[in-house]
Symmetry: C2
Subunit: 309 residues, 2 copies
Amino acid sequence: MILTVTLNTALDITYRVRALRPHTSHRVTEVVERPGGKGLNVARVLAALGHEVTVTGFAGGATGRTLQERLRGVGRLRDALVPVDGATRRTVAVVDASTGDTTQLNEPGPTISPAEWTAFQEAYEVLLGSVSAVALCGSLPPGVPVGAYATLIRAARAASVPVLLDTSGEPLRRGVAARPDIVKPNADELAELTGSHEPLQAMKDARRRGAHTVVASLGAEGLCALTPDGVWHAPAPGRLAGNPTGAGDSAVAGLLSGQAERLPWPERLARAVALSAATVVAPVAGEFDRQTYDDTVTRVTVSQRAGAA
Amino acid sequence: MILTVTLNTALDITYRVRALRPHTSHRVTEVVERPGGKGLNVARVLAALGHEVTVTGFAGGATGRTLQERLRGVGRLRDALVPVDGATRRTVAVVDASTGDTTQLNEPGPTISPAEWTAFQEAYEVLLGSVSAVALCGSLPPGVPVGAYATLIRAARAASVPVLLDTSGEPLRRGVAARPDIVKPNADELAELTGSHEPLQAMKDARRRGAHTVVASLGAEGLCALTPDGVWHAPAPGRLAGNPTGAGDSAVAGLLSGQAERLPWPERLARAVALSAATVVAPVAGEFDRQTYDDTVTRVTVSQRAGAA
């Protein structure tokens, strides 16, 4: 069983319009609604790969009920979201039908009370007793302390559960200091954390700050992993047309799945890069295309630069 | 008891953002959610004026549940919405905090099945037995026949219940032919119905097409009523700064309230114009400012041009 944590879950709504023009009225031609938040996206990909997965975090209000109803339809996925008084936030992606360009509107999310945060931590500690890996994903909702991920990482380490952190800003900085097994920043997050725009330098700095392994997602350049044993690079398989939404979450699912199966790093990276690519080309944002994944995963060449750590 | 019909109810969501820029990401700083659709807006104003009011139309899905929960908080308002399988649509108004400019995104609404439309008509006929007036408001959802309002007007007339129609396009054209007591088009709707951009000519044409009385809302010029007894004009009380959303619905509430109290036309128009003005200046879209209403209603001067009908 793998556990994913999404403290700021969302009901992701996609609207298709002809073209968004500010300060006018638009008829929405298509509405798609799905459970969202990075940890839920990761969990869906893990379940599709055949892993048993439990999701936790917060859910509340009418939007939370809708989100949980939708999760019931996903096989191999167990819902352990903790109820809160506030309503789960919505995100609205407005897609221009002609160009595919997307305008994003993100609600702030409900304020979590101290009692709700305590209830979550208790539930999380119980869940840690029965999982082989945990991913901590995404932003923090209002009310949750900025050091939340550091607390959750320490609890995972105390329970000897490998822990992956995928967040940004101050929660990432505090989380890294709590010595997670893996952090997966993108280039911007890495630069913000370390002040360096040179990826390898920045990754080394992130390791010095506490991360055991740093896997940086570098867009078209693919993934780069800095581990205690060396550096691996898995380039993206060519230029891909499609929607990058969720590609990072699919990469996390690949890394976590490889962690749970104790795969060597090159195989983990190949899986993560192939899942990212299969997500970009999938017609529905956040889904992945199985055929592309199967075709790509065997073709990815992972190269090593030993001893660089 | 007054009845309002909203076949295309909506959960109206207002997002405040700093400034909407297409193809970028936005943090929503404020979320307001309220029951919407023209007939529900009319009903809320009627209830605030002290009338007992029943709302009917359709509600379904998680959004429909939220809408009905919110209606339970409104005094003097009885919910007789008919359940449907599809989910009630959302409308999203994105307001630029700096300028107040609004970008509107309207979901299409659920498709109503023939069985649901039949169930509605049966419920409507029962409700007609205990009401003093009925308003038919807004657009038709997919699945409802374009002649729906004509059918509902004939049923109201058969039950001797005065009926007001506030819609546009083909549903207005068909509805007018069924001889409603009052139609309340705005200038654009009137021009689309009649082909004439000269309001008085167009109103005369609308009466010839079947409407007993035509009340045209002419924006800053106020309201003009063409009745069997003559023409009345109620100018808007000066230039008003604010949000015109819901001003037309408030005018309908004023007309309907006057109809239920059998007020003479000048008083009905004064009430409608004052409610419109009080809605424009209210801080929340669709609400009305009681003080502005009280101050304005006695100051409106309604002038008559006799015999013009």
